[in-house]
């Protein structure tokens, strides 16, 4: 099966700053492809190039079989795009925004009615169809923006940090919509800086400072983690974190809720020596156990391995 998106050595510079640096990847048809990285990692610039909004400096991008350099306007008919910042018209009603974008995508006649009602229902805005868009809560605005981006039923959907600034419940609702669209066969390319959202993706590309540093399923990425994470339950978290930071074989030590997460090179050695080390400092070691690494742990360790710092 041909990939929905093919990116080869894609690069974009702004003056002397390289926002996206020779990025190469494929997005398979029908998958939810996540783009994870801190602000300034180059996620938005990459998405804008693929959506035909920015011209690449070099490299190639094929979206839905079309070259983004030469056929950007035709690409736009086959994709939906939702920008990071809310960019519908605040002084138009919900219905008027839908009608406007339907007009630009040439959705008309009975299909217009059907699609409009579908979007209103999906976004939960049927009751509020005549309200000014500017008066809606951010969660609703974002669902309306998603609706306007899929009015023409595009096979590929680009979502640039669609849930930034939204409360957790609205975020969860939004991801339900993403799953619904994916179940209908839409390829979804979504960027985020929320680690827990990254877990919902089929495959995940990690970006830092314009470079792609890893690409795999979330579980496989965690399995790549070279070090072990130990969770230590103790009577004094802050002091224990300090004490463990300089200990032999410890790479990283950080508070994680009331416990301490310690990244170690050698699991066996650490399990044997760390309880004694804590007790010698007068701290209690109630429990020490291995936990699976979170994506954040993976991300930080991958960036370290590259010898770079985390941008952001």
């Amino acid at each position: 099966m041909k990939p929905a998106v093919e990116v080869r050595e894609l690069t974009r510079t702004f003056g002397t700053f390289t926002a996206v640096d020779r990025v190469t990847f494929d997005v398979r048809e029908g998958e939810i492809f996540g783009f994870l990285g801190p602000n300034g990692a180059g996620k938005t610039t990459t998405i804008k190039m693929l959506a035909g909004l920015l011209a690449p400096a070099s490299g190639t991008g094929i979206v839905a079989g079309l070259d983004i350099r030469t056929q950007a306007e035709r690409v736009k008919q086959l994709i939906g795009y939702m920008s990071q910042l809310f960019s519908l018209y605040a002084d138009l009603t919900v219905e008027e925004n839908i009608a406007f974008f339907a007009g630009l995508y040439e959705v008309k006649g009975p299909r217009l009615v059907e699609r409009r009602d579908w979007v209103l229902e999906m976004a939960g805005l049927t009751q509020h169809r005549r309200r000014m868009t500017g008066e809606l809560s951010l969660g609703w605005k974002q669902r309306l923006a998603l609706g306007c981006a899929v009015l023409h039923q595009p096979p590929i959907l680009f979502l640039d940090e669609p849930t930034s600034g939204v409360d957790p419940l609205s975020r969860r609702n939004f991801w339900d919509l993403i799953y619904t669209l994916a179940a209908q066969g839409t390829t979804i390319f979504v960027s985020t800086h929320y680690m827990e959202e990254a877990e919902y993706c089929h495959r995940l590309a990690l970006m830092n400072r314009g470079r792609l540093i890893a690409l795999d399923r979330p579980a496989a990425l965690r399995a790549q983690m070279p070090a072990t994470i130990l969770e230590v339950a103790t009577d004094n978290g802050p002091l224990a974190t300090q004490a463990l930071l300089g200990a032999p074989g410890v790479i990283e030590s950080a508070m994680f809720g009331r416990a301490v997460h310690v990244v170690v090179e050698d699991r066996g050695h650490a399990l044997r020596t760390l309880p004694g080390l804590l007790e010698s400092r007068g701290l209690e070691c109630r429990e020490i156990r291995e936990v699976p690494p979170s994506l954040e742990d993976v991300f930080v360790s991958l960036v370290r391995r590259e010898g770079g710092a985390v941008a952001g």
């Binding site: 804008k48 959506a51 035909g52 909004l53 920015l54 011209a55 306007e73 035709r74 736009k76 008919q77 795009y81 920008s83 910042l85 809310f86 960019s87 519908l88 018209y89 605040a90 002084d91 138009l92 008027e96 009608a99 406007f100 974008f101 339907a102 007009g103 630009l104 995508y105 040439e106 008309k108 923006a145 306007c148 981006a149």
Partner: protein, 374 residues
């Protein structure tokens, strides 16, 4: 290039909705031009009326009274003071209480009766040269008419030997509002139309809506024409209102073909609206764009259009520059259709200028608008 009327109309409908919801734009679109026509129509006038006059009648004869009556009969002068004292008359002029002092020397009637020259002096306040010249002109023509009448009476003949029967065409009453009001329509529409569209593209950039718009397959020609369409409608309503105000409020005659005016106005508005969009797309800021639009339209249209100042009397550089001021051509069109009732047989050159302006305005707008985000 695959243009779609459907997308263009979607764009136009959206733009009309913005307008309907924005009282400031609506006021700018409808109230400001009407108010400007009325205001400027009253204020800008080259007619000199009610010239205050002091009369120093040293003769106090029947003839001297007849001359003063003749001056008053024309309706342009009003006597503020009659005096015998030359110094007092000069003081009135110094203080600005009067604009002109007419001195009739002793012996005026006697000289006339004897067929001798009978000089009359008019002292005028030249601080406002234009008004002074017009006042002198009025006084001079009244006095020479009076003089001709006296000569005729003396020679017992019923007609003057040579009679210059002058008639003014097109603006028979020589009311300056007949000349000013049609010209004002051109200048005001130039300013308003450019200001209105100067907001449209910049607003999309400032509010961040350009990003979503640029992500759709809409063609830039569709964006520009779609944005232009509602404003063209507004402009045509404005011009119609201005024509009616001119006819009703200022009694300006309308003698030409309304359809020709409609066609010419449409071309002129397309050019001006396009210019506004060009400025808007170039600056991407509503504030900068409106200020630039005002500057680019207001001064040239007012000064170099021939509305207030005669272009033929300007230095060469300004005469050449005036050729690229669209209002200059539109003013000729408006005056021609309003006052002369002439058609394309006379106004074809202006018609060509209007077409060129529309093409350039639209062309600049389309070329300056890019869907790519920078």
């Amino acid at each position: 290039m695959n243009l779609s009327l459907h997308r263009l109309l979607a764009m136009a409908r959206k733009e009309a909705l913005h307008l309907r919801r924005d009282p400031r734009s609506l006021g700018m679109a409808f109230a400001v031009p009407a108010a400007m026509i009325i205001f400027f129509g009253y204020v800008i006038s080259f007619d000199v009326n009610n010239i205050r006059l002091a009369v120093l009648d040293g003769d106090r004869s029947q003839r001297s009274r007849e001359l003063v009556d003749a001056l008053l009969a024309a309706g342009r002068f009003s006597i503020v003071q009659r005096t015998d004292n030359r110094h007092e008359a000069e003081r009135l002029l110094d203080r600005g209480s009067v604009r002109m002092v007419i001195t009739i020397p002793p012996g005026f009637q006697k000289n006339l009766a004897a067929g001798e020259p009978a000089p009359v002096q008019a002292l005028v306040d030249g601080a406002d040269a234009n008004t002074a010249a017009i006042a002198l002109n009025y006084a001079g023509s009244i006095v020479s008419n009076f003089s001709a009448r006296v000569t005729l009476q003396a020679s017992q003949r019923s007609a003057r030997p040579v009679d210059a029967a002058s008639r003014v065409w097109y603006n028979e009453t020589l009311e300056s509002s007949n000349m000013i009001v049609p010209g004002l329509v051109a200048v005001i529409m130039m300013i308003i139309a450019a200001m209105l569209t100067a907001l449209t593209i910049a607003r999309e950039w400032e509010r961040g809506t350009m990003e979503q718009l640029a992500a759709t397959p809409v063609h830039r020609v569709e964006v520009i024409l779609g944005k232009l369409l509602p404003y063209l409608g507004i402009g045509l309503v404005d011009v119609t209102a201005a024509v009616l105000i001119g006819m009703v409020v200022f009694d300006v005659p309308f003698r030409g073909n309304p359809l020709l005016l409609l066609g010419m106005t449409t071309l002129f508005l397309i050019g001006t609206l396009g210019l506004g969009i060009f400025i808007s797309a170039a600056f991407k800021s509503q504030l900068l764009a409106t200020q630039t639009a005002l500057l680019a339209t207001y001064l040239p249209s007012l000064i170099l259009s021939g509305l207030m100042f005669d272009i033929a009397g300007m230095p060469l550089v300004l005469r050449v520059l005036s050729n690229v001021v669209p209002a200059k051509y539109f003013i000729v069109v408006l005056r021609g259709i309003f006052l002369k009732g002439v058609g394309l047989e006379v106004l074809w050159a202006q018609g060509v200028a209007m077409i060129a302006f529309a093409v350039v305005g639209l062309g600049l707008a389309v070329l300056s608008f890019r869907k790519e985000l920078a």
